[in-house]
Symmetry: C2
Subunit: 389 residues, 2 copies
């Protein structure tokens, strides 16, 4: 059928990969989707096929055999091109790191007042092992070393492009890029397999502790610079603002680009509206908690009365990495008591808040952290459920 074939060829989204049926799309072109919350809480390491997908542009069709990564230091004018083979020659470094979209939980913030952005639930987050070459090792061979450069930023360009052939772009501060414990890697494996197409095949830069938007997929170019990336997503998106700032008054130059994300948590089970069985006066609740910047989760408090009383969860599960290099999330489980007067059909509001190793905690409500782009939605997660005795 020539018609269909021609149509596919002209559609920039004609070569998208197959996706797991469980992923719930918030948009199809570009493809953006998250897994069901209970599945997310089932394992400390999120399976590749259930990892949320956040694409800004069509997925490029990259041939690993001819893949090239361009490197450029704008200060020394040093340049280099690496093949996948070249990248694999560097010592293979493996980390466990959570990646989260800045818009995770946006659908809750939207209830205060509308925002622009995809309507994410609570599952635009995942935790995986990533293997590859350390960025600091690769940059050293380009002549860029900690304490020996005047560069301030490292820019990344993807091989994904818009209709005008402009690539996706982002940058990170030089401190993170050159930190020998910063664990920024040019990853070619995700959970022990070649990185799936939706997650950046063949090479994605993983910047642990930092917002998904800077973990550039299908990495095509690295530029060491005095300047931030001038890409739209660095300059005019992925920034926070005070609640009074609207689209008439916003000045994107006034806010810093989001890098490390603040502490967040969510209930993964039960779900909003569920009827939940009460056993010995308690109900079972589980979910995740995470903080950017390598901060570790040290406590998760859960309430079954809308936040009037709290108890710390019994079980926190995480990998063994220590602050300030704890890049992975924490799964938590607890049995929380319900009020004495409760009976079958009673409605209760579950809430969760986490505390990280800097003793930062979450804001109570969305009103005071509302922002026009609906990012950084880390207020207490509140879930209404009905009890069943």
């Amino acid at each position: 059928d020539v018609g269909t074939s021609v149509s596919d060829m002209s559609d920039p989204y004609g070569k998208e990969p197959r996706r797991h049926v469980a992923l719930k799309p918030s948009s199809r072109k570009p493809f953006n989707a998250e897994p069901p919350l209970p599945l997310l809480a089932d394992s400390l390491i999120t399976p590749n096929e259930l990892f949320y997908v956040r694409n800004h542009l069509p997925v490029p069709d990259v041939d690993a055999a001819s893949y090239e990564l361009e490197l450029n230091d704008e200060l020394s004018n040093n340049e280099k091109t690496l093949t996948l083979q070249d990248i694999r020659k560097y010592p293979k470094h493996t980390i466990t790191a959570t990646i989260m979209c800045a818009g995770n939980r946006r659908s809750e913030m939207t209830k205060v007042k509308g925002v622009k952005g995809l309507s994410w639930g609570q599952a635009a987050i995942g935790n995986a092992t990533w293997s590859g070459a350390r960025l600091c090792d690769v940059l050293k061979d380009l002549g860029v070393e900690d304490g020996k450069t005047d560069a301030l930023h490292v820019q990344f360009e993807g091989l994904d492009t818009d209709p005008a052939s402009m690539p996706y772009g982002a940058s990170i501060p030089i401190e993170k890029a050159l930190d020998s414990h910063g664990d920024v890697i040019l990853a070619y494996e995700m959970n022990g397999e070649p990185i799936p197409r939706d997650h950046g095949y063949p090479v994605r830069v993983v910047v642990p502790g930092v917002v998904g938007a800077r973990n550039v997929k299908w990495l095509g170019r690295i530029i060491v610079s005095k300047n931030e990336s001038d890409a739209h997503w660095q300059q005019n998106d992925y920034k926070g603002f005070a609640p009074n700032v609207d689209w008439d008054t916003v000045d994107f130059k006034k806010s810093p680009a989001i890098q490390e994300l603040p502490v967040i948590s969510a209930v993964c089970e039960p779900l909003e509206g569920d009827q939940v069985e009460v056993k010995e006066g308690k109900i079972k609740v589980r979910g995740y908690a995470w903080s950017g910047g390598g901060r570790k989760i040290v406590r998760v408090d859960v309430s079954s009365d809308g936040g009037h009383t709290w108890q710390a969860t019994d079980t926190l599960e995480s990998d063994s990495s220590r602050h300030p290099h704890a890049w992975g999330w924490t799964l938590w489980t607890t049995e929380v008591p319900v009020g004495k007067g409760a009976k079958t059909g009673s409605e209760v509001e579950l809430c969760v808040k986490a505390v990280d190793s800097q003793y930062n905690t979450q804001p109570e409500n969305f009103a005071n952290i509302w922002n026009l782009r609906g990012v950084l939605a880390n207020a207490y997660h509140r879930v209404q459920v009905k009890l069943k005795f």
Copy 2:
């Protein structure tokens, strides 16, 4: 007068230094005091004589000429003793760093429910320049280097002792101690002068971004270890707990020792109860904001209606250091509009909240962060004032 002299000799607090009359004591033996808030906001660098004093024990009377610092690596059994002269031989490193007591603003948390601890206002915090030898340089000469030790903690002992001759003690994680950008220093100067007696003469370890309690004064011993300090202040104090934990149920082993402090802010002027002049519909408000862990303040929001509406402050003043090595605080000033119906005598509630470079922000109220020791009191600062037109 022999009587008085004998009496002074037998009082462990008989040799305390003179203090500035503006310092308001929360206790006298040991001496603990904070300056008036408006003075605190007057300069980015807090003058030595106005810097809050938090002493746990009597101030030791140390002779710089005979001062000795003992060093011990429990893993290699390497030992060393340094004189002040020896410490001065290391490259002199100067940083600007804020130090804050974990109990700063406790008096606000107490209003929710009583806690144990000194009743601090909002001024148990100060910002100074500190000069001395880098701890990582000194430890390198002891044979302790990043990546080459199995130690997990560095312990500090003060020369201040309790009636049983036990010294004040604390420890920090090895990651902070050996981080070449961690800026932990054995400081012998505060704001360009020898460190005053109340602040640790002749040597204080300054651990920037970390709670005051680990910035041990009158430093007498450093121990590199697999273990945390077993001192009371590390094990059974300076920890956070969930709001439901009381003195009957508390298990200090279950919470991590506070190290880096979370984001905080306060209004320094006007003060609670002040009558404030309205000019062109606005009142002037100023204060400080700070975050531990080298996070920089990126925005301060102020409200004049109890937190219903907010605007970002116009002016943020800080030193030029960048995330994640921004150890110093930020002073802010703004003119915030008051509601249209307001007239002379109208009462308004000012609130402030800050956002740091990890986009962490403060909790709205104290109820959900209440803890039995009254530490980490970083909810929005709320100040009731009366307007004058």
